[in-house]
Symmetry: C2
Subunit: 376 residues, 2 copies
């Protein structure tokens, strides 16, 4: 297979860019003296996870137990399931641990800790639990000074569970676009998470792991004292949201959607392409950022950015390609029917999820199909 022979739309990985992204992050983590645990929810793809492990990652982070099952079956043992544990999923988590998976689960409430403890006692299983810490009011977790932090740890400890660590995610880092702001958020993520660990240790809990991370803070942090590991996901592909945040160039973005021009509305300056929202996803993450790229930024088939052209609208299998600003009345001559283009996505995690398979384009121009899975 080669680029020319691919059907469209297709999710294309530029493998040399991906490898560069992986190496850059791993080297940074090595320099900061912390372990690295990539979040595989971005790609759910064995070949990508293998490349991350080969570069030095120690274990992975997952967003679903299905990811844990799939990657454990493929040989990865050290897994953190970084979403608060639903009591009804404990049976599935137990099965993984009984098979030998070193699965860590997460709690951020007394109710959840009690459910884990009761289930663990009933099944004679010592779950390793990490307590989620809220460092920026973004989503889940317990504030580091909240009494609930200790209460959750004590419920787990009293029930014989293993309080293995604390975990935080500075999701708010996506809202900034200057290095100074990201440095500040990164330090807040670090210091809050370390503080939570210290409080738990002060109450006699081991809490060995101090796990933080998001792609922007991982790339901005000036030091990571007290942190044992970092998690990041989207860095492996990057995307237009990360570009607007300021942590990647468009030339770092390893994921694009290959598409074909199928029509025009010349008076409006539109080309119609066969990548609609089904291929791009409905993610409009750049909508409120410094540049709104619509449903994606247009590149030539070979990947050169056509920076004035975006996918300005999308239906299920139709994308509307137009020039920003003045309509391009020459659009039909510029992009005739049959023209193939690559579209850089807003959000690599969302766009990847629309595709059963990645087409991995190596530096020598060969293409390999890398399957990805989905569902729960």
């Amino acid at each position: 297979m080669s680029l020319k022979s691919l059907n469209t739309p297709a999710a294309l990985i530029d493998v040399p860019r991906m490898v560069r992204n992986i190496d850059r992050m791993q080297q940074r983590m090595n320099a900061l003296g912390v372990g690295f645990r990539p979040h595989v929810k971005t790609t759910k793809c064995q070949q990508v996870a293998d490349a991350q492990i080969a570069a030095g990652a120690q274990g992975i982070t997952v967003s679903t137990l299905k990811e844990a099952e799939q990657f454990y079956a493929a040989g990865i043992r050290d897994i953190v399931y970084a979403v608060g544990m639903a009591p009804s999923k404990l049976t599935q988590a137990l099965a993984l641990r009984r098979q030998g998976c070193d699965l860590k689960i997460v709690a951020d409430s007394v109710e959840c800790a009690e459910a884990i403890t009761a289930f663990g006692l009933e099944h004679d299983e010592v779950f390793e639990v990490w307590i989620e810490v809220d460092v920026d009011g973004h989503r889940s977790g317990i504030a580091p000074e909240d009494d609930m932090l200790i209460a959750v740890g004590k419920v787990l400890q009293a029930g014989g569970m293993h309080v293995g660590g604390v975990l935080a995610h500075a999701g708010s880092s996506y809202e900034y676009d200057t290095h100074e702001a990201l440095v500040r958020v990164a330090e807040q993520e670090r210091s809050c998470c370390v503080r939570a660990a210290e409080r738990l240790r002060g109450e006699g809990m081991p809490c060995d792991a101090v796990s933080i991370g998001s792609t922007p803070t991982a790339l901005a942090a000036e030091h990571l004292e007290g942190v044992t590991e970092v998690r990041a996901g989207v860095y492996v592909m990057f995307d237009l949201v990360m570009h607007n945040v300021g942590v990647s160039e468009t030339s770092d973005i390893a994921l694009s959607v290959l598409t074909t021009v199928i029509g025009h509305q010349e008076e409006k300056g539109w080309a119609i392409v066969d990548a609609g929202w089904m291929a791009m996803s409905r993610d409009r993450g750049t909508q409120r950022q410094k540049r709104d790229f619509g449903y994606g930024l247009v590149c030539s088939e070979n990947g050169e950015v056509r920076s004035d052209y975006v996918i300005s609208g999308a239906n299920q299998e139709h994308g509307i390609l137009s020039r920003t600003g003045e309509p391009d009345r020459e659009i039909a001559r510029r992009f005739p029917i049959g023209t193939r283009l690559r579209i850089l996505p807003n959000h690599a995690c969302a766009t990847g999820a629309q595709h059963p398979v990645y087409q991995a384009l190596a530096g020598d121009g060969t293409i390999e199909a890398w399957p990805r899975f989905y569902g729960w």
Copy 2:
């Protein structure tokens, strides 16, 4: 399987509602004296398409050739591929026709017609081509009075292809929310498409099929004189966008996402659920409509609408459930950890696409897994 035993998140179909939606639309089409060709892109699910055919649909509409292949393999022969034909996909279309599939393809430009004709002549195949008509400036197609309409027809006819019909989709109907406006758009869709057919027939082309449709116009049209068939897709499930357009009650919405409460942020009035955007999709179709439902409207596990509660934010596997208006500081008591809820989606086509399988809940409470496919 029963509702209680399902893992979450899960895409749930309320089968009695689905059957009612199918019957209502089919009866309306029968009364209007037109054929009905449902768009199966909404569900990509054999069981749903079978129910549509059993109710009286004559053939189906698809948005990808993969849908055509899958549904032809499952026994449906009469298929319209309603996206402008990319020349590079003609080989795939030819293969379907050679297997016996009565596949109709679509063109809206001279270039596309020339490509179809050249390929047809080369492979000794008479493709049946429908010409796409633009009735509202929404997306693709040729305006009914445009000279290009006749030019496209003549290229096809001169090359021995079969000009089988015209096809239009009043996509702009989604932008209205009064019956009067929808009646007007429906009449515009009808009259423009009929006019295009008359012009082609006047030039000696057969153009037997006059195919129009969108769910809102199909439900609003007062008469369909000159139309031979209607296409509609989302009516089979309905969703919150259609509810805002005014063509369905929330009690008609047959698709929901079953989810579990996994945490709280009591001060903010948030419950965290395990349906994030991966389960709901990133579709925010109600964002600019008369009521913005965030990522979905909350219902009890049994389907009763909790009309003040929506999914106000979403990360990949986390949804933030909150009350509209004043934060609900009682949220942890109202929706304790482990509570199961159904979330009605913005857009059934987008939400369905996130799930490998529907869980079909029958009137007697039993559940059947109905697989759906994706990709190209």
